[in-house]
Symmetry: C2
Subunit: 159 residues, 2 copies
């Protein structure tokens, strides 16, 4: 499908947030999204933007989005992290995801990063197949560790 791929504006973030909530539902955590439209606009479009966002637009409807930001590897230098790539479920299988993915990788190349990284659920075989077909590697031996807000507070208070 022919869509326009462009950088997101603050006005897009309402529709972008709908896509984020759709993904949370797919990943079986529908209540996990606490970010608001106001917050995401502040975070992405203030003096010190925390991310870069691209959207796929058809007429005035946002059909997909990709959101990324820079990270740092102490082995390699500056890298790019692709946090989310989401296509509205009614518009899947129309190459929109691939167009967004290419845009992010183009952005990575222009910014001369040493690596692009993202995460995928191990049961999401479609996504894993797609990534591997494009030449990306899926690492088997690394695990993600995290403190959420509550466990971080608890650790700080007890230490």
């Amino acid at each position: 499908m022919h869509v326009k791929i462009r950088k997101a504006t603050p006005e897009d973030m309402g529709q972008v947030l709908e896509l984020i909530k759709e993904l949370a539902h797919f990943e079986k955590e529908p209540d996990a999204v606490i970010v608001t439209e106001k917050q995401i606009i502040e975070d992405g479009f203030g003096d010190n933007p925390l991310f870069e966002c691209f959207v796929a637009e058809k007429e005035t409807k946002i059909l997909g989005m990709a959101l990324c930001y820079f990270r740092y590897s102490t082995w390699k230098g500056r890298t790019l992290h692709l946090e989310d790539l989401i296509v509205n479920e009614n518009y899947r299988g129309k190459n929109i995801g691939l167009q967004l993915y290419k845009e992010v990788m183009q952005f990575a190349t222009e910014n001369q990063v040493k690596r692009v990284e993202w995460v995928v659920l191990d049961w999401n075989k479609n996504a894993i197949d797609f990534y591997q077909k494009t030449g990306a590697k899926v690492l088997e031996d690394w695990r993600i560790a995290q403190f959420d807000e509550a466990s971080l507070q608890k650790f700080i208070q007890n230490s």
Copy 2:
């Protein structure tokens, strides 16, 4: 062991880089470190620093380091990523790692992040045990996907 925990300065980065190379050796990729001292100083101490680094110092020797930077969760908001926490192998088991870990978590709390995240190799049982004892979760179902520089170039050229 009593060490001074403080923010790193550009002058520390030579010793910090030695620790980074020590970790790469431990993780069985001794040749993977391509970052130079000059590069890491530019990246961390320029107009737009890509990371925050803390060191554990005894007299003028750097015995350990922790390096982190902010990321963004579209579900939660701003998060902190702990990229590396390294203690010189001759000084392990002396609580230096814990002191650096606490410093990073304190920094996270002061910056009101919604989550702190890092990665660990699935065979590094000592590290996993330590993290879990502090209340952190190790996620089993997420995998890391990545393009390195060469595969990214190849993808861009073929697409």
